[in-house]
Symmetry: C2
DNA sequence: CTGAAAGCGCTTACAG
DNA sequence: CTGAAAGCGCTTACAG
């Protein structure tokens, strides 16, 4: 199939490329009859235009990239989806880029900054570590989502996140209040000061407050997948069968744990209580329904877009915004 | 941050842009010392290059687009993921485009064909209807996945799919063999000849073979979401409480139905049996584990990529490939 | 309201 | 091994 260029259209319509470009960009200064003729020719040829050529000249308005790490994470996906919602009607265009677990989202950002002249970034589900150094020279505003950028060297990075420590505390407290003392924690690494480490610290706060000692072998590091959590849970409960409750740092982990318990002849919540984290849709449908910390997806999305636009369009300073999460009491704890 | 162009690099390195372009493209005909100098300057400047400018000149090799309809469909996502796997080492580059339920994937294809010079297309989870007419003039090879393009006007469209009718038959037969006679079907529309209609026909075959009449009110059209299936199931079971089995045309629908039944005091499979379709990962972890038709994600992905490459690189004729699905007997039927 | 011309950042024959 | 120059398809002052 022949691919038509603006030049072909111009020739066919008997006008100059300038004029074709004008109608293409819906500029007002074109004679109505001329416009219609050009539009007819474009329609006939299924003309679409070459984005590369356009991008080469046009500043593209403000292009904002939403960089999402982890394609198969339902919570992160919901978050990205919600951001796209809050993007409507804004004076900027957005593009969404997925990078997988092994990839470097900062390299991706750098590339996007050059290749597509991306002016602002929203990182969804990333980490902040040494790799971030490549962005040192970049003065584009960016916001980290679900993670605090407060104590980092990024002066132009905003962030939107929940109080992970407080929510870790609440999750653990729910279990303690239900009378549990031999409680396991399934989640990400405890070191550092990312959200997972904070949830862990919060959980420790609750334990300390209730004067319940924590058996360190009950901290279980696991992959954030059904299969990973399942396997980890099976071997954990082999060695620590007297554990009566689990704080899982994601709903997906919780599902895997519950499945494993079921297969070992223990039911949830009768024998073991489980609390999850994130509050993805499945948590309302799983059997049992999951008691979990629900992250306010919509709030996080809205605030993230808002703060970025404030920085980008009004030159405001980056803010670090804490949004309220909520413990949803359902059926998996007793 | 200054964005460096090839020209800046050339000046800083004291060479011509031609030379910079050469090292950028890793061409062999550059003096080693020159190459190193240029590379050093590029590294210092975090030079990345402008994709628009590059795309304007370079044919881009063979670019293939995987167009996925429905971001939140776990089955389709797994399929796309698997395709990317089978893409490794191929002499072509791939890009993945998501369109949501309302969007027109054929318009997307047309746009991609022009804007990015996409040479081949893989449609994941689409429909073939009148909208497809816009591709009439396009002679790029394409393959439809999970749906047959055999009886369409697209002479250059291949397709890879399972035998939906046979699998619909098997799903229903499983329920019949377990002794059920009042069976409901939850799924997409019955008309047309897409996969859903075929699954329906297959189910009817099984019913007819067993001389079990089908009460038309037991066909329930529903959205393919947890919430949609849940709501539909609640009102359906209000009016048809004597139904003892459900054939759900997707696992997600099945989960919603099971949840609804549970909330109405019926348990699965003790009171109602449920068979799903697709075999997504959650079907192995849900409680009860779901008896379901497992689509061979990896086979579909491999064959799709294969047939497209055969058409694109070797000029072969489009094929229509049926891959084997498998009924996975688990816990939700008794 | 319309068009000729310069230029966006890169690649690629072509000549040396 | 290296560079000057043309050109990819478009946009945009500028002039009329």
């Amino acid at each position: 199939m022949k691919i038509y260029t603006i030049k072909d259209i111009a020739r066919k319509a008997g006008v100059s490329v300038t004029t074709v470009s004008r109608v293409l960009n819906k500029r007002p200064d074109v004679n109505q009859a001329t416009r219609e003729k050009v539009e007819r020719v474009m329609a006939e040829c299924h003309f679409v235009g070459n984005a590369n050529a356009r991008g080469l000249k046009q500043p593209d308005g403000d292009l904002i990239a939403i960089i999402l790490r982890g394609r198969d994470n339902p919570f992160l996906n919901a978050l990205a989806e919600a951001m796209l919602q809050h993007t409507q009607g804004l004076d900027a265009s957005f593009l969404m880029e997925f990078v997988d677990e092994q990839a470097d989202e900062f390299q991706t950002a750098l590339r996007l900054s050059h290749e597509k002249r991306v002016k602002g970034f929203i990182f969804v589900g990333g980490r902040i570590d040494e790799r971030a150094k490549v962005l040192d020279g970049m003065d584009s505003p960016m916001v980290f989502t679900t993670i605090s950028a407060e104590n980092t060297s990024f002066s132009h990075a905003a962030s939107v996140f929940i109080d992970d420590r407080a929510m870790g505390y609440q999750a653990m407290k729910t279990l303690i209040d239900a009378g549990h003392t031999r409680i396991a924690i399934f989640g990400g690494i405890r070191q550092g000061d990312d959200g997972f480490a904070k949830r862990y610290t919060g959980a420790m706060d609750a334990l300390a407050e209730a004067c319940i000692p924590f058996d360190d072998e009950r901290f279980v590091q696991t992959r954030f997948s059904l299969r990973g959590a399942y396997d980890t849970a099976r071997s954990f409960f082999e060695s620590k069968p007297d554990t009566t409750a689990v704080f899982a740092m994601s709903d997906t982990i919780a599902f895997g744990v519950i499945r494993a318990l079921q297969d070992m002849g223990k039911s949830v919540p009768a024998d073991v209580s489980v609390v999850g984290f994130d509050g993805i849709e499945m948590s309302k449908f799983f059997i049992p329904r999951l008691t979990t910390v629900e992250q306010p997806v919509d709030d996080i999305a809205r605030e993230s877009v808002q703060v970025l636009m404030d920085m980008l369009e009004r030159g405001e300073e980056p803010r670090h915004i804490i949004v309220d999460a909520k413990l949803q009491i359902r059926e998996s704890v007793q």
